[in-house]
Symmetry: C2
Subunit: 338 residues, 2 copies
């Protein structure tokens, strides 16, 4: 009798059974009752450690998180850790800088820790088959996908948002509010990563609305660091550039930009609107509350872990899941006075 | 030839050698050159994975982090992970809620993952010998210690700040700025944990200054959640209580409190000063910048990992390290007009 038998009996996934056993909130009362009833009737004794004790094989799943200071990833890592553990595996976490090579880090980790699989949390979108050769275990790209690379769809899994479309959505929202002079603050417009895709979305939405792209309003900070975002926003203001709104690539970049605007005596949103993409909890408590496109961070984490473990256990195959953001309206965007 | 031989040759610790090998910034140029020279002369080939490959014994070190939404812990976890990995071990991270029992979690983890030792990141200060029995491996309390418990000093290690003194320091600073009606927002004044100690410090500093303790100004939110901190601050304001300053138990609680003050039309710091204890990066970019006592988070993490690994390897014994905060002056505290 295993967790799989209970899952089959109830017609739910093993992760749902696991969540009931581990008393997690995100299960409906009906499902919870059904699973608990099955556990009782089938005399199942949940034992998280059974897998580890009966076999000497590794239970290690690597999580390579790129961008060590990204607070958005904290909630993703928390859910990954919980989910991996609940399903009887062990999360081996490695946090690397945005400049580091996540494939090299994962390949080294695979050898050192005998990984069964890897979840990349953030990374480049242009992997080649050749680059991935050192990695011999299945992997999932969490929060991004291989847009620019040459991997076949059945060689990896991904859980991501449509970065280009989401950035375009944010710019369209600003345009809808009457803005036409819109700046964007991002790390790098040609990094084959989130920066590049969101920058494409920014330019696409401007073009759609017949607004010419003005290079003076595109700010490239090199990374996601708050100090760089703050400094570059000051420079943008001091350059005398004319803008009424900013799209920031992340919540933390937006928070630093708002600080710079405030320190130069500009009011947000009266003098400049600010929108971002992320939706971390903290930015709901900043002054002003940040208007942001909220990514479903926890759901992305849960699906990434479930997919990878399905592949490891031979019950699933590589898939590509696209998720949507939702607009969390705060106080940092206002309409341009007519 | 191992990393220990290089360390002995140079008269430095193994962790220093490890930091040089892994190219970390926190080594002086002189030491770096000396270590690199020894590596060259002794023909040492650094191999992080050697330990894992030559033996089949576990390399797992548990990190049980209590308070899943505490962004202050993110930088601690990052440094713990790096340090543990650099010294040839594997971090097994488990994040639990502030309500969960960290000893039970660690004991289960010890059995499941064959841990060599545990670092508790946050926890109660009142462990008894009996409670710790299920845990058979050495452990370090990181960011707290066993103030109220009955553990002998040589039964565990700790790296902490003097929570009572630090809270008193924050209150003294507010008093120095002319404040006498000082509120405190904390989780729980009798939790045998950080809340209780900092609350004692708050009352101690008030008493020293001849200011009576007013229960109407003590706000207990039950946990560190930002939504609770926001709601309770609104209630404090709406109660009509008379106060000119707030000590918040953490940066995130302070950020939520500032939001509540702002939403009720009160200006920070003109109408109410706010100080906290933590010093996370993000609160340096809030409006206003938070004035806070900065904990040496990364140094606390590094020492915790080094101490535990020293004990595991038999080169160190249990110790208790006390660290100091430093005042990071922001814009959230001002003097009371004379």
């Amino acid at each position: 009798m295993t967790i799989k038998d209970i899952a089959a009996h109830c017609g739910v996934s093993t992760s749902t059974v696991s969540r009931v056993i581990n008393d997690h909130p995100d299960v409906s009362p009906v499902v919870r009752e059904m699973v608990n009833k099955a556990i009782e009737e089938l005399h199942f004794i949940p034992n998280n450690s059974a897998r580890t004790l009966v076999s000497s094989r590794s239970t290690a799943i690597g999580v390579v998180s790129r961008g060590v200071n990204n607070p958005f990833f904290s909630s993703v890592i928390r859910v990954l850790g919980r989910e991996i553990n609940d399903l009887g595996y062990t999360m081996v976490l490695q946090q690397i800088s945005t400049q580091a090579d996540e494939i090299r880090a994962a390949a080294a980790l695979e050898r050192e820790k005998k990984l069964l699989g890897v979840i990349f949390l953030g990374g480049r979108f242009n992997y080649t088959k050749e680059e991935l050769e050192p990695l011999t275990v299945p992997f999932v790209c969490c929060t991004y996908t291989n847009t620019f690379g040459d991997l076949a769809e059945d060689e990896y899994s991904s859980v991501s948002i449509r970065d280009e479309d989401e950035a375009a959505k944010a710019v369209r929202y600003l345009i809808h509010m009457g803005h036409r002079r819109i700046a964007m603050i991002l790390d790098d417009p040609a990094d084959f990563s989130i920066g590049q895709l969101r920058f494409q979305g920014y330019k696409k939405a401007l073009a759609e609305a017949g607004i010419g792209y003005d290079p003076a309003l595109a700010v490239f900070t090199g990374d996601y660091a708050m100090d760089a975002a703050y400094d570059y926003t000051l420079r943008l203001i001091d350059s005398g550039a004319d803008f009424t709104a900013i799209l920031a690539i992340s919540d933390t970049v937006a928070i630093a930009a708002i600080k710079a605007l405030t320190d130069r005596g500009l009011r947000v949103p009266e003098d400049c609107s600010v929108i971002a993409i992320d939706g971390m909890e903290l930015s709901a408590y900043t002054v002003p509350t940040l208007t942001t496109l909220r990514q479903p961070a926890e759901e992305m984490a849960r699906q990434s872990a479930d997919m990878l473990i399905g592949i490891i256990e031979g019950t699933g195959s590589h898939r590509h899941v696209l998720m949507e953001t939702t607009l969390r309206e705060g106080e940092s965007v206002t309409a341009v006075p007519a």
